[in-house]
Amino acid sequence: MSTESEARLEILTRIARAGARADPSFRRAPVTPGARAREVVVEQFAEFAAEYRASVTRVDAADVARAVAELLARRGSVRVVVPSDLPDDLLGALPALRDEGLDTAALDRMQAVVTTCAVAVAETGTVVLDHGPGQGRRALTLVPDHHVCVIRESQVVDGVPEAVASLRGSVLAGRPLTWISGPSATSDIELSRVEGVHGPRVLDLVLVRDV
């Protein structure tokens, strides 16, 4: 037997001998969807995301492409990359490179990335990518310094438990997830928060009315 399989057997044996028994009355708390009105939930998401120094732009569906273009222009982001399957209506006539497996050096030359998301959470002001359609691989939303993320209002849920429940399918399908709450930050120096370390230093959220 190799050392590692010996180790495996020994650890499992020690655990069995430890004799920790489960409380038979253990029950998980059920996931209950929030009872608050949709408008309140969306409003809180926008407020909390902004508190984490993400910008939030609220638009009608017809105005998404214009809002995206304005946000890119405002930051001077010219070299823009997008997932290969990003819906066309988010970009309009904007020139952007579609990611077909760019290498790291090429990706590093990109100034901004535009994606959609899987779900957004009002309780925390968080956007979650499951890297499905419109969201690209993980590196795409990590290396460029400016991330523009388009969220439909119907994707905003009230609490973290609902968000986790809604992502179950993605997780079981083996997809990675990235939970994003504002731009990268650190509290490592005297516990005071500084925005902008290794992840994108600018996070712009476009919140689209669709309900």
Partner: protein, 497 residues
């Protein structure tokens, strides 16, 4: 080189004498912990039922610990089915060897690391160095500790003992950074510039894990800076070292801890970035993923009915931030990568209660209970501290202290013996008393007065006073008749004389 490990080089009492003399460090710590304490209370108050959530967290962890064997096997099966490889390590040395073997098999001379206490626990960096592999810490605080050749002093903010000016000087010296100010923003930028190239070109990364989901083989890293995302996404090979107690049964269980952890640790509603991944994914992230499951004394903690709750810990550091002992003595006094109240119970247990220095840690507490109140998974730290003190003392042979306590028990079990002893002490204390207090007791008793004064025995004891006071006369009926026993609690009134 950030020295780590969990074996204290000396007793807490000796180490604390040194750290207490560092006024700068105490100022830095007091500033940081005071700030975070207030913020945490606000973050916690925002959720409708924090107490219920703490209960859920504790119950879930207990359930996971009761099913640990099955959950680890499920986790192994799920990670393997998604293209990852799972390794088992009984102790620190096995874990180090596994990581070193993987790194060297890819010809790596350098690996990037995302902050991980479990890798500090096993002293991975030094082991990699011996194999010719340099580990680059990418978390800002870990980088500060590494560049300063210092030790981490806090779970969440390992460089909490350093202030901005010290960090600026360090970056100037070690990174050659041209820093004009000590503004944290400029310091963070210097770290970004230094690490950027490493993120984009290093082939092997090492991480820890905050949670791992058994049913889906999903591993989770909770972070702020994006260095975690970089490490788990950009390299070809990812090695994650995880204590076996980090496993959760189902995906939905993650929700409870994503609510408990950020609010308890950085006092935020949510930390900036959380990454989840399951094995390897074609065209996205590392092509090779290794998960190292570390026992390192945990199964022994699991076997202890009282100590077991220690394994619920999610490494939030809330207990450090509220602890009066930690705030003054600082993390280095604990001599372990697990400082503070949680370290005082975790470190000695991971060392099987066999390390004489670590065995002094359960006394590094005033038992005020603030840690228990702050703990998001309701670890009754004071209970475990007392329990460990008992176990450690049981194993000591009969000593002067034990003899003294036995004599004290004999004296105190009979009122006349006790009174006799008091009279004796009153007479005997004469030469020791100055300004109403005893500052230094002779001989073995001196241990008590090393760090505190003993009030002098008063001229008259309560019992003596009680015997000499005039007996109360019958009270006239004041309308409160019929109150029964409660009357005895009424304060003595002059007008009843």
């Amino acid at each position: 080189m950030s020295a780590g490990g969990i074996r204290p080089a000396r007793t807490f009492q000796k180490a604390a004498k040194v750290t207490l003399a560092n006024a700068q460090m105490r100022r830095n710590l007091r500033h940081a912990t005071t700030t975070i304490r207030e913020k945490r209370l606000r973050a916690v108050a925002e959720l409708p039922d924090w107490e219920a959530l703490r209960g859920e967290g504790a119950d879930l962890k207990d359930f996971a610990m009761a099913n640990l064997g099955d959950l680890l096997l499920d986790l192994e099966a799920a990670v393997t089915s998604r293209g990852g490889q799972v390794h088992w390590a009984r102790d620190a040395e096995e874990a180090r060897e596994i990581v070193a073997r993987i790194a060297t098999s890819h010809g790596a001379r350098e690996v990037i690391k995302v902050k991980s206490i479990s890798t500090d626990e096993i002293e991975l960096n030094a082991a990699l160095e011996r194999h010719g592999v340099h580990a680059v810490e990418t978390d800002l605080a870990e980088l500060i500790v590494q560049l300063a050749e210092d030790r981490p002093s806090h779970i969440l903010v390992p460089a909490i003992h350093r202030n901005r000016a010290e960090i600026r000087d360090l970056f100037r010296r070690r990174l050659g950074a041209e820093l004009l100010t000590d503004d944290p923003k400029a310091l963070a930028e210097a770290a970004r510039v230094y690490l950027r190239g490493k993120f984009l070109t290093t082939k092997v990364a090492v991480s820890g894990a905050n949670f791992a989901v058994a049913e889906s083989g999903t591993v989770c890293v909770v972070e702020s800076e994006g260095n975690g995302r970089m490490c788990v996404t950009m390299p070809d090979v990812l090695v994650t070292v995880m204590g076996i107690e980090k496993v959760l049964p189902t995906w939905q269980d993650v929700a409870v801890f994503l609510r408990l952890l950020p609010r308890s640790s950085t006092a935020e509603r949510m930390n900036p970035y959380t990454s989840f991944w399951s094995g390897v994914r074609e065209g996205d992230g590392p092509r090779e993923f290794h998960l190292v499951l570390l026992d390192g004394g945990r199964t022994e903690v699991l076997a202890d009915e009282v100590g077991r709750q220690t394994l619920r810990c999610i490494r939030c550091s809330a207990c450090l931030n509220v602890c009066p002992v930690y705030e003054r003595a600082g993390g280095h006094a604990y001599g372990s990568v697990y400082p503070g109240p949680i370290g005082a119970i975790l470190t000695p247990q991971l060392l099987h209660l066999e390390d004489a220095n670590a065995n002094t840690l359960p006394w590094a507490s005033s038992l005020c209970g603030a840690c228990y109140d702050a703990c998001p998974v309701r670890i009754d730290i004071p209970e475990v501290l007392l329990y460990l003190r008992g176990r450690i003392n049981e194993e000591k042979p009969l000593n002067a202290e034990a003899v003294a306590f036995r004599s004290a028990a004999w004296v105190m079990s009979e009122p006349h013996r006790f009174e006799g002893a008091i009279k004796l002490a009153r007479t005997g204390q004469g030469p020791l008393v100055r300004d109403g207090a005893i500052h230094a007791l002779p001989g073995l008793l001196g241990g008590w007065t090393d760090s505190r004064d003993l009030p002098a025995f008063p001229r008259q004891s309560f019992r003596e006073w009680w015997r000499t006071r005039p007996a109360p006369t019958e009270r006239p009926d004041d309308g409160n008749a019929g109150l029964g026993e409660g009357e005895l609690l009424a304060p003595e009134r002059e007008d009843t004389r």
